[in-house]
């Protein structure tokens, strides 16, 4: 029975009951997300080395921007990796989604097959598998040999190592693909028929009808995948460890080394907050420009 009585704080007893139900999640959120979030900001103004700390003000940030070549190098590589992976992943996901919205007896099978890689996430076993696939004597070079293509040193060459890592998120495009499928299925068939009747070809139908109508979903996938990929760590750590000659030294690896190898947790916290600010700015820009290219059916 609904109890309208309020406590002395003005919150109704029913609301308090609601808080009890979400308490386990709320406690975890406060302890494992909010607290580290706030404490890392504090640490970024100290020289915390995991044992002692001293307040140093903006020294960490100053050193990062004026005296750390590795920061700029790693940030550049991470941006290249992120842009290439996000564009590649979403393009492949959309292409597969377009293919899988066509009626076929094998649609279910193909959807499962394309979605399966994304279930593995950033697992260690997947990273080890990827490493063995792309070794000099691995399966990929074995396939190339069948076509008389000379083997490529995928992981040992600084020219190809980053590309090899980029292929991994591309392969795991199942999640955005499923979201695109759902979005494509909401495109009104009358509009598609009308376009075809007016003489629009497949390409025009896609760019002039389908893409605008799924642009809000595209925006969502763009933001979500960028946030996910920019924090790429486990596969890079297992497969290349940032090498060769830092060709794959992603930002997350740099933070890891600075904190756990160099004992500079304060400095690593500052690096983390810089990445956070970059993501915030990127998201704000996307939202601000969204009204120019994102179509919402209700006109907003």
């Amino acid at each position: 029975m609904y109890r309208k009585t309020k406590t002395f704080t003005g919150i109704s007893k029913n609301q308090i009951q609601g808080y009890y139900y979400i308490a386990p999640w709320l406690i975890g959120f406060l302890l494992l997300t909010v607290y580290p979030f706030i404490i890392s900001l504090f640490y970024s103004f100290t020289d915390f080395d995991m044992f002692t700390f001293k307040f140093v003000g903006l020294e960490n940030y100053k050193e990062i921007f004026t005296n750390d070549d590795t920061f700029y190098g790693s940030l550049t590589i991470t941006m290249i990796f992120t842009v290439a992976s996000v564009i590649g992943k979403l393009s492949v996901a959309l292409l597969c989604a377009l293919f899988l919205t066509r009626k076929s007896n094998l649609t279910g099978f193909y959807r499962t097959a394309f979605y399966l890689p994304s279930i593995f996430g950033g697992s260690v076993s997947l990273a080890i598998l990827w490493k063995y696939l792309f070794k000099t004597d691995g399966l990929i070079n074995g396939i190339l040999k069948v076509f008389s293509i000379s083997r490529v040193n995928w992981l040992g060459s600084p020219d190809t190592a980053l590309f090899t890592l980029i292929l991994l998120p591309l392969w795991q495009m199942g999640s955005p693909m499923v979201i695109f499928i759902a979005a494509l299925q909401t495109v009104p068939k009358e509009l598609l028929e009308a376009a075809r009747i007016d003489g629009a070809g497949i390409v025009s139908v896609f760019f002039k009808v389908k893409l605008p109508l799924i642009s809000s979903v595209l925006l969502f996938n763009l933001i979500q995948q960028t946030i996910s990929i920019i924090q790429f760590f486990t596969p890079a750590y297992i497969i290349t460890q940032g090498g060769p000659i830092k060709a794959t030294y992603l930002y997350s690896l740099m933070i890891y080394d600075v904190s756990f190898r160099n004992f500079r947790m304060g400095y690593a916290s500052a690096l983390s907050w810089i990445l956070f600010v970059i993501m915030i700015v990127y998201t704000i820009i996307l939202f601000r420009t969204a009204n120019k290219w994102v179509f919402y059916e209700d006109g907003d």
Binding site: D49, M50, F51, T52, N67, K131, K135, T136, D137, N153, L155, G156, S157, P158, Y237, Q241, G243, P244, I245, K246, Y256, D257, F260, R261, N262, F263, R264
Partner: protein
């Protein structure tokens, strides 16, 4: 009313649980009190198996003791251990690299003073303990598992025909001859290389000894001064890359993915990589294939007054100062390092024991493999400088590896690489406690 009863019951239950936990903590360890000890180490499969067998025997002999084994490969062990120490969750007893000790000593109170908690080190070589195991306050903070040294292990079946054909002596060879010889082998058979090693192996077993042979001192001193100048470092880089230029060494970009384990390299398995520079504690592991193997000392530069060979204990045992089961942990550590049965099971998985009694047992039982015996003899005959703690610092090693790779890949010249490394090392030292 129901809610009040529930609250009262919960309060009573809480008090009961709290008092039980207090009681549990108040009860002193006795022989019958169940005890759990956490023991962490890194290594390969053979070391893991030997250690697990030893642990299993100890638990049979001490039924009240349960030992939780936390083992892994080398990669990531240091970072994990650092996190555990900071979180106050370090294992009770742990394996640690000799180079990491000062890092932890400078920052926090991690190691229990073994000389005050009943550790038995009576059979250990006093010189080794004095040189490597005491802190500045005179406390014995670690005990060495075994002694190590850097040697060149080679496939005799593949190498001997070439030695005869080209007339070299692998036991007495200079770096120049080594590169020439390797080049001739590779020309004779383009699939064969005289050398490959782990990524860090090129830094630790090639670049470092070459540099020490040039300068006759260690490269990075504990007071943050460098034992070399730009010219000497550039010379060392040139000698290193000459190994690749002649074809003596497997192309770096091919071997780079075998970062820690040369025995994973297919060319090593096939006998097409003839030799590798390794720590002698890994001899048995890398020679576990169907070939005959030999051991040689490191090549020397003409006029070198030191071998540059790393010899000394590398793997140490430490006990957590904050362990809640310290008494039982010390008892286990004493058994692990001194008990004849443990010694026989563990063999030379962590190098040749520094414990004199252990060496005697292993020799009597024939448990020191011929190749290990050979490696120890060579290492003892060519002892180089004692490493400084700073040189073994993980950040310093990573920086040297990075610049070395840039030179090997041809991204910078040896002179530019030397300049960069010296500059970056100075920058790195400023961020460290002196």
């Amino acid at each position: 009313m129901k809610r009040r009863v529930m609250v009262c019951m919960l309060a009573v239950l809480f008090c009961l649980l709290f008092s039980v936990s207090l009681y549990a903590n108040a009860v002193p360890e006795s022989a019958e009190t169940p005890v759990t000890i956490r023991f962490s180490w890194w290594g390969g499969d053979t070391r893991h198996q030997a250690t697990l067998d030893a642990i299993s025997l100890y638990m049979k002999q001490n039924p009240n003791v349960r030992i939780e084994a936390e083992y892994s490969g080398f990669s990531g062990y240091y970072q994990k251990f650092v996190t555990q120490v900071v979180a106050g969750n370090a294992p009770d007893v742990f394996q640690i690299d000799q180079g990491w000790i000062s890092e932890f000593n400078n920052r926090g109170d991690v190691f229990a003073p073994l000389n005050r908690i009943g550790a038995d080190y009576s059979k250990f070589t006093k010189q080794v303990l004095d040189d490597y195991c005491y802190n500045s306050e005179g406390n014995l903070i670690v005990l060495p598992f075994g002694s190590n040294g850097s040697v060149f292990v080679y496939n005799k079946d593949t190498l001997n025909p070439y030695l005869e054909k080209f007339g070299y002596d692998i036991n007495s060879i200079s770096w120049k001859e080594f590169a020439e010889f390797g080049g001739k082998i590779h020309q004779d058979n383009p699939e064969v290389y005289l050398l490959s090693t782990m990524t860090s192996g090129y830094e630790r077993f090639v670049l470092k000894p070459i540099l020490e042979q040039i300068t006759n001192q260690i490269g990075v001193q504990d007071d943050q001064t460098l034992g070399f100048d730009k010219g000497q470092l550039a010379q060392a880089f040139r000698i290193l890359i000459h190994l690749f230029e002649t074809g003596a060494a497997q192309p770096y970009e091919e071997s780079v993915i075998y970062k820690e384990d040369v025995e994973d390299n297919p060319l090593w398995i096939q006998g097409k990589v003839i030799g590798s520079f390794i720590f002698l504690s890994n001899c048995d592991r890398v020679t576990d294939f169907d070939f005959n193997y030999g051991v040689a000392r490191l090549p020397l530069l003409e006029g070198a007054q030191t071998s540059g060979q790393e010899s000394g204990p590398s793997l140490m045992l430490g006990i957590n100062k904050n362990s809640k089961v310290q008494a039982e942990t010390v008892k286990f550590a004493n058994w692990f390092l001194n008990d004849p049965e443990a010694i026989k099971i563990l063999g030379t998985q962590r190098g040749v024991p520094v414990n004199e009694k252990a060496v005697e047992i292993l020799k009597n039982e024939g448990l020191i493999s011929p190749i290990m015996g050979e490696a120890v003899a060579i290492s003892n005959a060519t002892i180089g400088f004692k490493n400084s703690s700073l040189e073994m610092n993980a950040s310093v090693q990573a920086l040297i590896d990075e610049k070395m790779e840039k030179v090997i890949y041809g991204k910078v010249t040896p002179e530019e690489g030397a300049d960069e490394l010296i500059t970056e090392l100075q920058k790195l030292f400023k961020t460290m406690n002196p």
